[in-house]
Subunit: 347 residues, 2 copies
Amino acid sequence: MEGRKGDVSTSREAAATARRKRPTILDIAERAGVSKSLVSLALRNDLGVGVQTRERILQVAEEIGYRPHVLARALRERRTMRLGVALTSLENPYHTEVFAAVEDAADGAGLSVLLAHGKRAGGHLEERINALLDLNLDGIVVISSWADPAMLQTVSRRAPVVMIGRSLEPVDGIDSVNNDDEAGAALVVGHLAARGHSKILHLTSSLRPAGLARRHGYEAAMRAHGLEAHIRVLARTRGGALQPDLDAALADGYDAVFARNDVEAADVLDHAWDHGLAVPTDLAVVGYDDSMLARRARPRLTSVHQPRQAMGARAVELLIERIDGRLEDRHEVLSPHLVVRESAPQA
Amino acid sequence: MEGRKGDVSTSREAAATARRKRPTILDIAERAGVSKSLVSLALRNDLGVGVQTRERILQVAEEIGYRPHVLARALRERRTMRLGVALTSLENPYHTEVFAAVEDAADGAGLSVLLAHGKRAGGHLEERINALLDLNLDGIVVISSWADPAMLQTVSRRAPVVMIGRSLEPVDGIDSVNNDDEAGAALVVGHLAARGHSKILHLTSSLRPAGLARRHGYEAAMRAHGLEAHIRVLARTRGGALQPDLDAALADGYDAVFARNDVEAADVLDHAWDHGLAVPTDLAVVGYDDSMLARRARPRLTSVHQPRQAMGARAVELLIERIDGRLEDRHEVLSPHLVVRESAPQA
DNA sequence: CTGTTAGCGCTTTCAC
DNA sequence: GTGAAAGCGCTAACAG
């Protein structure tokens, strides 16, 4: 906007040359000697376009490198064939693994997937979700226990929402799919009890729904086994460390730890390494999620496997059902299973 | 399309009730008793709208929960204020860390970021990039050494592209920012030599540009230190394991390993654990990237730090410059530094 | 089978 | 100050 008009238009032209204007169906129509609607129909394989004509049109489209303008199309169709995924913990491998599962499923359904990453604090996640939805996506899957129910409800007025993971109460108007956290926790306690452990600590840093459910599952299972429940709630600092130090938490002579997820189990493993504690001899450790962290850890981590492929697939199906008009809410719960590895091997 | 018209419209109505039609500027105009263009102007703070009127319009917009229709706007403006990021290895923490850096930078510039994840094989990445670009994003940053130069060039005709990471030759028409891999490798060799190591193995699984550059840097540095270079090229299986087994690679009595990246360094650490090798006493290990894996590993991994924050920020700046019309290519190289930890401590 | 036409929601001259 | 009108690229009636 500075300089003379001449300058501006010159530089515009230069830029335009560098980045050529994209061809439209009109260009195809012209080159193929048909009308623009014909092209539109041919492009979308509408029957009722002469085979010859269609052939020619497709060919021309190919030639001039035509790409449909999805924005224009979406403006008319009110459908983008795109799903959004909102995440808060890109740094937790389990979450990216779930994302990959959703992506696989969507791919299979001919939908493409966009990811938005929001920080947990403030309204950041909501902002990102809204920015995503501004693109008129057909639906959105939220992978985050940090999503506020009220916020999700607001969002769901714009597009169908399915949440992978747990919310305290089912949220009106949004579907969900998660694993049975209570059952998962019971699996862990059962396994540890069978190994002969009795001083089993449950370590958690989260008062979020999934964490709570695992904790309740742990308590119930301990009771069922006639064992006393021990719980330590730690906070996670900005830097990612657990506070107060694990030292204190582990000082009471526990012989096994069930951590709320793999990340925290890995923290325990690290702590054991740093303090010369032998795992599983001195301390058995079990995680939750069975993420890359569990496979990668040394000793390898026994962990509860969440059926992420199935969860991702189901999430996409639920979304599609919603898009097609389903009105009732659906909440699916899949069963986890325990993957036994070195950090708490079979008895 | 089936059933009588009445049925259809009834179910339509039901769905419409559940998911209300979004308000448009026309709704605002009506409610505020002005014309639609007035609203548009007011919404974008165009001076030349009565203060009173503007006030009222904004208020009404707020009231009815108006959200601009970015697709419609983009259709006119040819600008979406959105950037795309294309990735191939969501499972490599370094890549997600770079993504987060890009996101931070974009946030700062008022741009929002969408992520697309492509598999490395076939044309999958290209497909995903094109799907992303179909949304008329203003630019795209590619974080993948798997991106084919010719493909990138094609893509860059649609929107500005900047690549974070290395390509063999600078690609015409696209910008890049990366770290100096040769210098990074030299840092490693220098450090290991200073610790008194002489049988230093370089382990790599990649014949991609960044891997090659590190390898060349290693060779040159070894030569400079009067040491003999030893290189093992391993393949990675679908499952993620290195093939053939590390056993063979490490059988020749090396006292230090410089791995191509943290993922492979972690493989070496795991291997050492599995075989009772003490690190760093029996074997010193150094990685590259200084990702979460390095911080998390036990012993903690000495690794070359790529300045990802700076790289992400620079990438976004380069993109913005392009959007504003820059035509010459730019290739930036930032300096890495070594982060010394337990797997190869200070001499 | 083919072409014409009217928008989708928004921005932007250009008159009033 | 304000409003009317054209048009971004595409789809979907509807007439020929």
